[in-house]
Symmetry: D2
Subunit: 371 residues, 4 copies
């Protein structure tokens, strides 16, 4: 018997598009899936770009008309890696066509838009998935299990951060991220640590945040001498209150000199604690107990931490960023075939977006804000 | 010519008293001082305790009457390591007697009391010093110089923490720290990270904090089955606004499972960043520049970082906690002889205390609070 | 114009076969290559295994007859991942057929066999490549450039290690690795640190080694109560003398409790030093200069370190083990098209094998041995 | 009842002399001792140096005649920190006078001389102690206990190093260390890692070493343009065979650019492993067991690790180099009062010296050498 195939329609062939394509090309050789992906069609801004992308990334057909892709009968899953402002229209069209929708984060530019997308998807009953791929790390899965199984005792605190340095340069130009619809650092990377906090510890119900625009103006485009003011944040610090009653704090910072991917957290409980940074994504630190030999243990990723073993049969060989996307795609295909939820769907991404907007509101009003 | 001597009167022979005595006994062999300390008199609660302490710690005389110590003509410097509730009375008496006053932190139980002490000392013109000894670390001195000399560019952010685990156990009993006058975790160890933040970046003008009492009751004393409610915090997260306009955040947590001394910070600037944790007190991390070989450099304490060379002529030999106290005492004796300020005096300790009280007020009112 | 294709014939569908297939499937989407690989044929022990492997790994045809694969006109590159004892026959047949040969390490079971393979390949003028994939790490490329450009001054010393824990268990059974032809730890993983040392610092001309068999017997197969003696080493320590005159040492150890992939080294020069461990494969430590801010800098992999940017446009996203194989395959295809040497070819693998055999001889004779 | 006193006679007031004095001044305040040290007399090269040293370091009397110190009836313990070439004469005189002898390492310039000293001390029955102070670290004590109690299972391997950078500069002048009697890097710092290896794992019975003189000549004195050849090593790598049958290796290197105190080791056993570096002297890494949460645990020094609690009642406060000397002196005074052996006595230091000489012989003969 031949395994069925699912047709993939990919919108966008930039960095994230290539990352998706790589995952679709690799996943069948690594995972036992109920169906194998068939790279059916790629859409991009022009016919030329789309054709080149399709050739490079192994897609059978190319188009500059994303709507034809969305409605193509041989496309079963629509993967959206286009700029954020297009997410709503593309996703709604794909939902209307009954397709499974795999959308990059953030889900949309506003919580209101994200809500519309979520309600449409739920009404249509389609499978959705949003690309919070850092959650797919086997070490994060281990962290979640350690917490869920009570290995840390009762959870008492959370401290998190997502700090990178890609906007440190005051002459880095405006982009879709620095306009109000982009939402600034708190939306762009703050969403990762918020999704992580929710994944580990559940809903956040209130926040008090303070945001700062470090570089007050930026060139209108790369190399330009014309500058325009920046109205979004470069850095936000926020206090959090979780539904469980736990309090904590996070920082989002895209002008954090020296930090390339400090998506990090420490979760403290009455019996233990865990710590993690994406800067060392194949390690989780765990401490439990007391006594002369207690301390933080550096757990290294290995076959004991599924689905690491899909990539390598021995510990110490390390996964990379692109492997996380492969794991995500494996779960997407299973969910598509089985009709299951498979992690951060549109509803979850909406909740993240509401949390981010509450932080923005809180910073503006200088007061605690409920979510 | 013989170097003059200064007579030391030490109140208290507990952990901190022994730490002071050790520093007074060692300092002359390590530093070139304008005078050498003479361990003149030790006071403690009873004659027996005082006599035993004096003998063990090398003091010439002992007394159970701290007032006679304070007024003894052969005592030039009064070192106060008694419980916090006695600081005000002892310091005021020493000031009245014209003595230099060296007081353990926190300066007193309230900012109002600390203000009274500060004003008395300033009116009398006596030298004062408060034992925020972590500031004496050569690595902290290096950090401060790096910032002051603009090596990090313009400072853009601060993230700090003081986390320990000594109150993790829900059956750890009440103590002077857990009563309202003790002030809880934010006062006990939060004061260290606040004094550090001020030392590096200047005054804090506003804060918004959230405090949590993790263990709601504790035994009235060790081993007792009788429990009383805890009204102070075990953990506080606080947003900060500095006078310079920088924003940031800190955490104070004495129930941080797995952490023994995570007095840590990261200071970010437009051109570089530094990171430090007291868990590795002989190291400072520094990053500057970009390019293929940029990254955080682990600077190890050595003779390049005064006064490290006083302890050892070669790098890599490491200072310990007690050495920080020796540095503090060396600066105390110089200040006593020269009449200078020498770091965190009563005025500075008062400002720390006001910042802590603002955090407590903010948590109670759930609103930003000015300092 | 359409890019040409190169037909890939893969022998073996175990761990390494899957790793190769994954690389062939991904490489065209990540690299700009002069040709794209076409997964043409897969051979394995039986028709069933081969057919299943071909399906899972995306190969067009399957066979249980590796000789037909080697001679197939549509196969341009023969990738050998079969057990070591078959390498010689397969490679010689592929060379005879004029194919490019891509062979997993070790090249063969003896240096004599490796020499025969090397001479055949050189006589035929075919491109060869041996899978020492750890050399493909962008951080290793950086290390090599730092050394070659004199950034460390004159090189004065080398200290290396490859330590893993996969044979710690005394009840881990015999395998092709534990028989004399397997060569033990020094051959299996010692070859990695030897190839690394040669890649960074050039030929090794003499060695003095001491080997130890920690577990004197092992079960004949998994779960068996019958045990047979072990004659190969579990651990070897070796002194080295390089052609340049530098001396140093290495350890190979496959019973290193707690170590999963400590393929590590420190290279010291008169002006600087570098340190690396595969346990943190996305980091290189570099120190240069002296003074108050000198120390080891943690360089994190990023687009400054080609070909990292092929995988991700931003630093901090990390490569994994499988990505190293993709880099290797990209270089293989370029070399195949251009007829170039592309790193560790058969000649280089022969030199590694001779060095390993000299270590084995040295341990047996308890004397320095020339290579 | 008053505790008795022991009179200390210190020879030398340089770095090590000050380190001794600091320890004698501090120890009574930190440890409960059967007697307290009384700093009785200090000897140095001239009356002026001796008098200044005595004043700074708190000694009652000074002399330029070390023989009068050794024979003074109020001196009970003779502490020798003079250059190595004087150790034999001073120790023999002190032994003849029946004094306890506390001598800095290395014990003497040759094993023959060390043997003479050892036999004299043993014949006289005096207490001796040699200053291998790194062994006094509570983390090393913990390491030794872990090994002795079988926590690592059967020991299978050892890998050690002592690397510093203080002779990196090719213009660092000749000193007592670089002449043949000094013994070079292998004697100066190799002795530390040899003493550590012996302390943890017992006697070493054979070695094969290779030494290298990196800088072939050095100025005859600081700033001189006249240079003389260097005949001692800058770096030695050595294979080891322990009496227990374990094999391993060490490196001694005083020209290790970037390393300030990498006195480090990894001890591997069938059930666990430990790793340590003096660069992080308050930490010991320990791994045991396997499974999803196994890994190296970072144990931080604290009151669980005697005699840490003598210095501080809480973990995380860290000991420094000078504290190790205080521990050593506490054990010296107890041994003096009780007549016990107290760690590395002359006999043990002799064994270290014989091991070092075997390494030197082995490097010269290029052959394995028995000890």
């Amino acid at each position: 018997m031949t395994a069925p195939e699912v047709g993939i329609g990919l919108i966008g062939s930039g960095f994230m598009g290539r990352c998706h394509a790589n995952a679709f090309n690799s996943v069948a050789g690594l995972f036992d899936l109920p169906a194998r992906p068939r790279c059916e069609m790629l859409a991009d801004a022009t016919d030329e770009i789309a054709a080149a992308g399709a050739k490079a990334l192994g897609f059978a057909r190319a188009t500059s008309d994303w709507q034809s892709l969305v409605n193509d009968p041989k496309v079963d899953i629509v993967a959206i890696t286009a700029p954020n402002v297009f997410h709503e229209a593309m996703a709604l069209a794909a939902i209307a066509a009954g397709k499974t929708v795999y959308c990059e984060k953030p889900l949309s530019t506003t919580a209101a838009s994200a809500l519309k997308m979520t309600e449409a998807a739920e009404a249509a009953g389609v499978v959705t998935l949003v690309g919070f791929n850092f959650l797919r790390n086997p070490m994060i899965q281990l962290a979640r299990e350690i917490i869920a199984e009570g290995e840390l005792g009762e959870i008492t605190g959370f401290r998190g951060r997502h700090a990178e340095n890609y906007m440190c340069d005051p002459d880095a130009p405006h982009s879709f991220r620095t306009v109000p619809e982009g939402g600034g650092a708190v939306a762009d990377i703050g969403s990762h640590i918020v999704s992580m906090a929710r994944y580990l510890l559940g809903p956040i119900v209130a926040t008090c945040a303070v945001s700062e625009t470090i570089h007050k103006s930026r060139p209108v485009k790369a190399g330009s001498t014309e500058r325009e003011p920046v109205v979004v944040d470069d850095m936000t610090h926020a206090l959090l209150r979780f539904e469980t009653g736990i309090v904590g704090s996070i920082e989002a910072n895209w002008a954090a000199t020296g930090r390339t991917m400090d998506l990090s957290f420490e979760v403290t409980g009455t019996k233990g604690a865990i710590a993690f940074s994406q800067e060392r994504m194949n390690e989780l630190l765990l401490t439990q107990g007391s006594g002369a030999t207690a301390g933080f243990t550096r757990i290294e990723a290995g076959p004991n931490h599924p689905p690491y073993g899909r990539f390598c049969p021995a510990a110490g060989h390390h996964l990379g960023f692109n492997d996380l996307k492969v794991i995500e795609v494996a779960q997407l295909i299973s969910a598509h075939m089985n009709g299951d939820r498979c992690g951060p769907d549109f509803r979850e991404a909406l909740e993240v977006q509401k949390t981010i907007e509450a932080m923005q509101d809180s910073s503006a009003s200088q007061a605690w804000t409920s979510i």
